[in-house]
Every structure is written in C-alpha cells, then in structure tokens.
Symmetry: C2
Subunit: 420 residues, 2 copies
C-alpha cells in the first residue's frame, strides 16, 4: 500500500468516527478521558518498554541529551499525563454553547459551537503530545489523526493502542484517534493533502515543520509558535522591574517561543540600565550582541546585525538596541517581530497605551514578562499551541480554538425574501 493510500485510509476512518464523538455528551466524553487515564496507569509497563526501544534507538543515533530527556517516559511522567487528562475533564466543554436571536422575518437563529470534525496534528519528538492532543480533541468532540516523529514511534503506537481500547470500552469508534505510523516526510505531505477529510491541521514543533505545513498544506493550517519577542525598557521604566522582567523573559527558559530575543532601551536610561542588565545576566552566561551605542556603554560584547534582530535564537543570546523614542521602538518591533509577544516596562500610562495599541502582535505586556503567553497562565486550562496567525484564533489555543460554529434556524414556513 503506498503512503497516500495508507494515510487516506486513516483519515477516512477518523472522518467516519468523527460523527459519534461529535454527538457525544460532555459526560460521555469525560468518562472516556477518565478511562484513558486509568488505562495509561494500568499499561505503564508496556508503555515504558516501548519507550525503552525508542530511547535505545535514539541513543544509538547519537540524539542529544536534552532531546533524550524529552523523549523519556517513566512512571512519574505517565502519572503526569494522567493528571493532565483529569485537568482536561475539569474544563468546561464549549460544544453546544451559544446565543439565540429572532429576526423581523419570523425566523429564530441559534449560533452554537460545534467540533471542527477531524483535526490533524503533526509533531516531533515529545510523546506526551500524543495523549495531550488526543485529549483536547476528544473533549471538544473532534476525531484526530496524529503524525508524530520517528524518535517516539514505538511509544506513540503504545499510547494510541491504549487510547483505542478506551474508545472501544466507552462505546466510541476506535477510529476517533488514528496514528500515522510512517514517519517519512511523505506521510506528513500526504496528511497535508487530505482536504475534505481533515478539517484543520495544527503543526506542533519547530520552525521548519511549521513553515513546511504553511507552505504545502491544502488543509487549512493554524500557524503556531514562531516567537521573535521583544522587551522595551522605556525612559519612564522602573529599573528594578525592568531587570527582573528581562532576566525572567530571557533566562527562565530560552528555548521556548515566548522568551525574548531582543531588548530595546530608551537612550535616556540606557547608561543606567545596560550595565545593570549585564551584571544580572552574567550568571546565565547570556551572549549579548549590541548596536553601536549599547556597545559604547557596555564593553566586550559583539555587534548585532540586522540578521540578529530578525533571529529567534531560542538560546542564551540577546540582541540589544538603544532607541531615541518610543516610536523607534514600536517601528523596530513591527518590522522584526513575528507577532507573538512584546513587553514594555514603563510607569508612563500613555507610552504603555501606545505600545499596546500600535504594535501588531498577539500579546502586548505592560510591566510583565512575555513568558506569560501560555494557555494555563491566561486561564484557558490547557493549550494545544499558540497561534501567531490572524484567522480563527490568535494566541494560546484552548478548547475554544478546537471548535467552529453552526447556525440552527427555525421558522414556520417562512420563505426567504433575500434580494440575492
């Protein structure tokens, strides 16, 4: 069987199963999630055995240590995954919620949230994404077709075997969660071509993966994750807040999308702020790269190029730039940002307002760290990614993002009197 045929068969299976999950009550969907949690604990041994096979293969292939850690599943991590299932159970199901109104023509309309249908997820090494994604999709009444990375293939197969047995025991069709077991580029491309069977594709992973989906997919894609984020220290900044936020936004986890990559500072406070910053970042060995004016203030740092300002380092590297005005800061950010998260530190309300109004990014912070851009921190209870596109939803995507809408209209024989 060629790969397109194989992927299409899985998508058709998911589509066929999507109706039963779409129509299930919240109670029944929650019972399913609880059953999955229970079975994960029960099947701990076989899951860890499968994971051992993946880990051994990864080690043999010389995979980096940080990656091995992401790949690893142990008893504690399985408990953590089960806990996250109970968390999803506790979240309110958006399906069926909506509003109602009437029109002079005599019709009554109800607009309600409904599942998207079949969601495709393409992701990389972390096997917990398998269960997390399936749980969020099932809770919102969606079937899901998963295409994980080759490093975790045995673990993923085992997770999906467990999920399918829970689906069956709870009276759902097993096809509601499908795993594409081929991890070739062709299998990802095949999934991207399944317009009509797959309603939405969500890539969860690195820049290369996301770009490939955005550029090649015939299925509508929700673009996630790219984060070239900025911190601007205004002339009216509180220096203590500025330092705390800078250290947190750069160093608490540099590899994630909501960490900052460039720090802009107003010329009036640059001479005071930059030396303090250099000291505060020293313990983290942050590689600072500055414009000419910042290099004149703090010595021993390399020069920042335009390419630096355009780069999402995802590492202990920070580009610096001294600006003369708030306008210059806003302009720099609108030029280089990927539209994810930006923060200003200022006690000047007008400057804060302008920063929030005039920058075209998902999340604009005043006196808080960009690291807050997260479904949990925003109060959504969970997230399946952070959308950096403008269609559908923007920012952290919780359950709502996995739904669409539908109009239910009733009349009593009214004709349509529409002009055209």
């Amino acid at each position: 069987m060629d790969i397109i045929t194989e992927v299409r068969a899985l998508c058709e299976s998911a589509k066929a199963a999507s109706r039963s999950i779409a129509l299930a009550s919240e109670e029944k969907k929650n019972a399913l999630l609880a059953k999955i949690a229970e079975k994960l604990i029960e099947n701990e041994t076989t899951i860890i055995e499968a994971n051992d096979v993946d880990l051994a293969a990864a080690e043999e292939n010389g995979v980096a240590k940080a990656m091995l850690d992401r790949l690893m599943i142990n008893s504690d991590r399985i408990k953590g995954i089960a806990d996250s299932l109970y968390n999803v159970i506790s979240l309110e199901d958006p399906i069926g919620k909506g509003e109602e109104w009437s029109r002079p023509s005599g019709i009554t309309l109800r607009r309600i949230r409904v599942p998207l249908g079949v969601v495709g997820i393409i992701y990389e090494a972390r096997p917990n994404v398998t269960v997390d994604s399936a749980a969020l999709c099932l809770k919102t009444g969606n079937a899901v077709v998963l295409r994980g990375g080759k490093e975790a293939i045995n673990t993923n197969k085992e997770f999906v075997r467990v999920i399918k047995s829970a689906l069956e025991e709870c009276g759902f069709e097993r096809g509601a969660v499908e795993l594409i077991t081929s991890t070739s580029r062709e299998s990802a491309n095949a999934l991207m071509s399944m317009r009509g069977l797959v309603d939405v594709l969500i890539p969860r992973g690195g820049k290369g993966l996301i770009r490939a989906c955005v550029e090649n997919s015939k299925v509508p894609v929700i673009e996630t994750g790219a984060g070239n984020c900025h911190l601007y220290v205004d002339r009216a900044a509180d220096m203590t807040k500025a330092i705390n936020i800078a250290v947190n936004a750069k160093c608490s986890r540099p590899s994630v999308c909501n960490a900052i990559e460039t720090l802009l500072v107003h010329t009036d406070v640059a001479a005071e702020f930059l030396p303090m910053l250099q000291v505060a970042l020293a313990p983290y060995k942050v590689d600072l790269r500055g414009c000419e004016r910042s290099r004149a203030i703090i010595g021993g740092i390399s020069a920042a190029t335009d390419e630096d300002y355009a780069t999402e380092y995802d590492d202990y590297i920070l580009a610096l730039k001294v600006v003369d005005t708030l306008d210059e800061a806003i302009e720099h950010i609108n030029k280089y940002s990927t539209g994810h998260s930006e923060a200003i530190v200022t006690e000047d309300k007008e400057a804060a307002d302008r920063f929030q109004r005039e920058i075209d990014s998902v999340a604009l912070y005043v006196n808080a760290s960009t690291r807050f851009t997260d479904g949990g921190e925003f109060g959504f209870g969970a997230e399946i990614g952070i959308s950096t596109q403008k269609l559908h939803v923007r920012g952290p995507m919780g359950l709502f993002a996995l739904t669409t809408e539908k109009y239910l209209i009733s009349g009593s024989g009214e004709k349509g009197t529409v002009r055209g």
Copy 2:
C-alpha cells in the same frame, strides 16, 4: 515593471497605510465613509463615463446580457451604493470591544478585537463590489488591496480614484485602498503570494476563482460561497409549508449559493408531495431529475445520476430523491453537500433536532427556506461573503469576520512563572 513587483508595491503601500486606518476612531472612519458616499454622487458623470467604456468593450466581446446588467452602473445604482455606505456607517464597529479578566499570578488581561491588517479581495465582474468591499474593510480598520475583473476595470479605476480622494481629504493615507489594475491571471497569483504583506485573502466570485485561491494561495484564504444545498421533506411535513419553501428555495434566485439543488422526500409522503411539487414548479420551467422511485411517481422527468447529486446547478434544475428514513436523508446530505445550507420541513421535533445536530453544514433550517442564509437576513447588517470553511468564521461574514483579536496584559513587574 513586472507584475510581481507591481503587486508587491501596491501591497506594501496598503501595509504602510494600514496603521493609520487601524488606529482611527469609529467617528473618523464613519466620516470617511460618508465622504466616499458624497464623492460618489458628485463624480457620477465620470463614473458612468468609465462604465460606458467597460460596457462597450463587453458588448464588443459578446458578453451575455445578464452579465452586462451586472456590470452596468447608472445614477440609481450609484445612489444605491451610496446608501449601502450609509448602512455600513450605521453598523456598530467591533474594533476595541472585548472582555477583561485577572489571574492569580497578578496579571490582568484584556482581549480586544483588532483589524486583520491588509485584506486582499479577488472578485469578478460586478463593480459595486469595489466600493462595498472597501467600505467594510475601512469600517473595521483594515487596508484593502482589490483585484477586480477585467470587464469592470475602467469603472473600478474610477471608483478607487474617488475613494482615494476621500481618504486624502479625511486625513488618511491614500494607500489604504489599492487597486491592482492588471487583470491577468498572473496578477491574481501575485496577490496570492503576498504572505506577510496581506493578512487574509477573500475571493468573491464563482467556483473556479475560489478553487484557484484555495489551492494556490500562500496568504490565508477564507473560502466562500460553494452551495450544494438540500431540502428534505420529512414524513411529518406540512405539505403547504413544504411546497412554499421548495418553490422559494429553488426559484426565487437559482443562480445564488443559498438556492437548493436537490430535494429529498420521505417515501411515506412522496406520492402526495411530488405531483404537487411538479405543478408548483411548472411555471418556472424547472428541469426535474429524479431517482427511479420519484420517476415512478411523476412521469416525464429524466434520471438523476450521482453527478447530479454532486452538482451545484445554479439554474432552474432540481434533483429529486425518495428516501426511506431520516437517516438516509442525513447521510445523503453529509455525502454530497458543500456544507452551506440545508432545510427540513417537518412537524416532528425529534426529526428536526436530529437533522440540525447531525448534519455538518453552516446553516440548518427547520421549516424555513435556505435562502435566508445571508448577512442581512441574519441581522449582521452587511456581508462580505458566506464562509463555508470551518476556521475563523462560518456562514455570512459581517464586520466581525474582518477582525481578529489581541491580548493586552498588564502587571506590576510580575515575572512569568510558566513551566514551558
């Protein structure tokens, strides 16, 4: 200048101008729309002259009469366009509206509606779309790049000249509305490639145009319009309602997307209903095409093939099918529908509920005509198209559909304490 360079320059101009329109107050945007209305009336003569050039060329090219009528602009139609501008002025501006909440971490979040940025519209012959689209985009703070059809090019140029002069007089940048004057396929493809400059592309027109955008565009597309709509006459239908709705849904305007293409009827009432239907449709000379069982009830009609059931005729043609159960009707619709609008005629509440729940279409009607699927009829005041996709918005797209969201977060120096 090659076409890509030309289109890119226009998109860059729109992007540069988008900030000033995005930040404008509702009052200032309404003043602009009123100024455009005023100037359209003032410039009636030059607009009609330009339109005469288009009409003469179209006649010379042997364009069909119905098409000539769509293309034609006269004094009354200019007044109609001006009226529609005043209607847009009267609609509530969604920009800046939203909700606010706080989190235990100490941050306060505000989620507000903001403009999409730059909207691309690709459309065909009707020149009024130029002004309508520009008005809806400007009201929601968006810049717009228009690419109309070659038949209306002179009229469109004149409309855009008038709009630009209004933009200038009201203190906006002229680039907020740009027209691509090349009407080649290459110019449309160039617009589809402007990811990063154009935020969303909305095709308004026939199936070929929409398919081309969906398949080729690198810019996110809102798919609109394809409508293979169904009417199902249930065993518990009121026959008078059924006839009225069938005639309205098929004959009031067969060329539009919310007209029905197939009528399904329950076997228990088929012998009573189909002869009545044939009589009722006779004055409209509707070409009926039936399944074997319907042809056994009403004579002299041709056979419906699978292809018929899959076709959006947009004409005085109606496919018929007798079904044994509600399930069979639902299955047929989920198989052949484009997910636009479907109606059931029934006095059985349970059948109505199942029809609305189990069919995966935008709008599900009980005892009302599918022709109601329209922004005006739904109470949105205006529409820029009817979305048949699941991302962003579904159904008639009013002002809300031309906006996205943004999070404004404030703290007092809180760090992000995000796990990752």
